[in-house]
Amino acid sequence: MAIGASQRRVLYGLNVGVSVVLATVVLVLAVYFSGRFRTQIDMTGEARLNSLSERTVKLVSGLDQNVTITGLYAVLSEYQNFAQKRADRVRDLLDLYESDGRGKVTANLVDPMKNPAKLNDLIQRLSAKSKYAEEAAPHKAALEKFPALNDRLAAMVSEHTDRFAGLEQTNPALAAVREYNIVRLNFDDIKRRAQRSGETIKNSLEKVEIPLYGRSVQVAREHLTAVRRTLAGIQGWFAGGARQVPNIQPDALAFFDEAGSAITSVLEEVDVFLNETQDLKPVKIEEFYDKLKRAAGDAVIVVEAENEARLLSLNDVWPFRTDRSAPPAPDNDPRDFAGEQAISSALLQLTRKDRTAVVFVYFGGLSPIRSIPQMNPMMQQRIPPAPYEALDALLKKQDFLTEDWDVKTTKTPPVVEDAARTIYVVLSPQPPRQPNAMMPSPEGRITAADKKLVTDAVEASGLAVFLAGWAPPTSPMLPIPGTYEYAEYLRDTWGVDVQYKHLALEFTAAENPDLWVPAGRNRNPVYIGVGASGPIHFTDHEITQPLRGLRAVFSTVAPLRIVEGDEKPANVTVEVVAAVEETSDVWAFDNLQLVQSDLAQKRGTRPREGDIRAPFPVAVTATDESNKRRVAIFASESFAADAITQASAFEMRSRGLVMYAAYPANSDLFVNTLHWLTGDADRISVGPRRGNVALLDGLKDDWKVPYYRGIMVGAGPLLALIVGGVVWMMRRR
């Protein structure tokens, strides 16, 4: 059947239309599937600036709720040091999160100086989140009573102030009384304060982006507390001292009575207000508000989940460099980029449903994580701070719930609310520090029953960190070794023998031939360093992979021995986390007196029979495959103590004196161990990234620069012009 021209056009047109639609569909599908099964090549080499770690990719691609990440980075001017570089790095990182989030992550970088409206939108969005929306309700309710109370206070003060002039006419002696004049001044002051506080609160509630109820309550409380104190003093004078004024008239006495009762009435209301508001906590969203408003000149990242948010400060995202051995950044930036670590940690905190309790177990003495407040500042001997107080703060920041358990006084393990699991950090039963001389010394050794309490708790939870180490001799004069009370348990149950009688030291050649002296690391011979700075090395364990290259130190180390053969407990796998490498410079000895005597007499010592020579492990993990229990054992009791983790050192650099963390890996090692125990390898720190940007440092700021620029701008076009001209000339011929 023949078809006409118009029919043919329709037919062909339809054919083209269908094939175009099909081609478009194929393109969309190709892009979609290439996104789903994406492969990428990061051309930044080892720096891998364009790649998120596998853990982060897993985390963001498995998110069960929408997350918004907003970087607030202001670049005030091109001369602001590092600001542009930092903003660019954060923008790229956020882009990676959005790419890998597959629709679950929305990421933006906002310059709050250039775009204040977006900052305000963010503040409004945060205040609407369920966690913060109801937080200020009690503050709001309390504040509703404040204006009436403040008005009443102002009215009472005004009314009585107006009567002072008349009172002085009938009682001229009053004007010469100092207390009376102070009362007058105070009444004036209270009136002014009432007005000022009222205005401040009104402004805080009405003239800012979000009503600052918490701040307003604070202002009201400060105002009323001050007023209360003043009025109570005035009331006392009216009732006592005022009546002693010579030639005081009855009208003045009546005034004092009446004013006193008016003050009493107001103070009752003030007390009610102060009582009602005394337990109100600061409102979280207002903390955010302060920090975000400050971010106009600073830099923060806000990570929002559906119900709550976290704010990451410049220090969280750009911590100061801790690796002293690394070459300085080409642009001399003193900070490293830890954006991925900070954001992923915040995401985990926001999206994680169950939390982990960390219970520090000790026997007698003071809490290892909570300091006793110094009650009497006049006390000559200060109570030392708790040895793990900073670590405790770090753990809380990492979303752990922390608690302590004194086995000596409490015979049941603490129950931590909201905790899905508990990790016991078992300190040596020796009190971790000797208490203040004013406090009674802890007495008695841990009993078998108490030890069983601890091991039963560990068995029940299946997760523990044992901080073992060298046990010092019980007597400084006699070679009677100390004991590590959990040694037997660790050997029999976990296959790890803590050789606590031996103290490992690093030695160096002495002046006398064939003799060694302790190698003082930072003048402290009991510190043995990790990595390039010392003979201990981290293995390829999941805990230590991100910590390689960072400095750490173990103090008062006792060697560990992994039990083999028939003694080895069934189903237990022991992995080494850190070990002293094979070296003739490290050995562990059990007779301190002998070594001391050698050093004093011969100015050097040498290893003896019975000493334990390197290599040996100093940190291990053990997993019971049958019931998935895990423990970590460290042969240094104090490796995570604040005295080591918070130690800092100084170094002279070209731009001046630089302070850095002396042992940056110590606290990370502890925290990573906790994450490993809970099976949260995802949370193990990925460590900051350096990713230094190469600079045009060969280009000097001199007269040649404009010429170079001229070459860049002019050389290409000039060449094109010449070639074009030649072609044109040739064609004309």
Partner: protein, 239 residues
């Protein structure tokens, strides 16, 4: 293949014999040079990276690439050589592919003119060659997609200026509006707009990340618009 090569050769010859090509080349290099100057990419102590230059270059390409491609097919319509091409033993696909390859060769020569920047940077610093390579790959990918759009536009009209406008407008929309719309959406809709966001896709290359998704996107756009151009050329036979 031989036919495609012949078309390509003919197109290249006509391109390089025309002053327009040199004007475009000169204009492009001046524009990128000015970008390098105003973005302070070549300041003492500045980062040894071409990122800001390449980002600006991508916007410049929106104007220059349709200028290269505007004459490819529309000139054949206008000069009346299209009919003889239709009768020649050359398929529509070979015609379009030959023209595309010729313009891409010219485009490659054009961006080769910017190699002076990394060379200068290598003299005065140590830029990451991997990142520079990735940036150039991005420029080629973007240029390829833009060129296909330009050839499609050229196939729609016999007027070169109209072809340039028809090529530039969708590119401007794609480049600017993709980024513009993204900021108003979250979740899946944002993902959708992000997938159309050419600036973002190019930026991935520009910072040293070669992703299969971006490569497929630019290749796909190239193939789609060349396919559309073939269909338009083909339609001349039955319209």
């Amino acid at each position: 293949m031989r036919n495609t090569a012949a078309i390509m050769q003919r197109e290249l010859l006509s391109l390089f014999c025309s002053p327009v090509a040199y004007i475009v080349l000169m204009g492009f290099l001046i524009a990128t040079g000015v970008i390098a100057w105003v973005t302070s990419a070549f300041e003492p102590g500045a980062p040894a990276t071409l990122r800001t230059v390449f980002t600006g270059t991508m916007f410049v390409l929106v104007i220059f690439v349709p200028a290269i491609s505007m004459r490819t097919i529309s000139e054949e319509y206008r000069s009346g050589t299209f009919e003889s091409l239709m009768t020649a033993p050359v398929s529509d696909f070979q015609l379009v592919l030959g023209k595309y390859l010729a313009t891409m060769v010219f485009y490659l020569i054009m961006i080769a003119g910017t190699l002076v920047y990394p060379i200068m940077m290598m003299i005065f610093g140590s830029p990451s060659l991997g990142v520079a390579f990735s940036g150039y790959l991005g420029l080629i990918a973007v240029g390829s997609a833009f060129m296909a759009v330009g050839i499609f536009a050229s196939s729609l009209t016999r007027n070169q200026i109209v072809a340039w406008i028809l090529g530039t407008i969708p590119l401007v929309l794609l480049v600017l509006f993709g980024q513009f719309f993204v900021q108003f959406f979250e979740g899946r809709l944002r993902s959708f707009f992000q997938s159309l966001n050419i600036v973002r896709r190019f930026d991935q290359f520009n910072r040293g990340l070669i992703s299969s998704e971006d490569v497929v996107f630019f290749l796909g756009v190239t193939v789609l618009f060349l396919f559309l151009a073939v269909k338009v050329v083909e339609s001349r036979r039955w319209r």
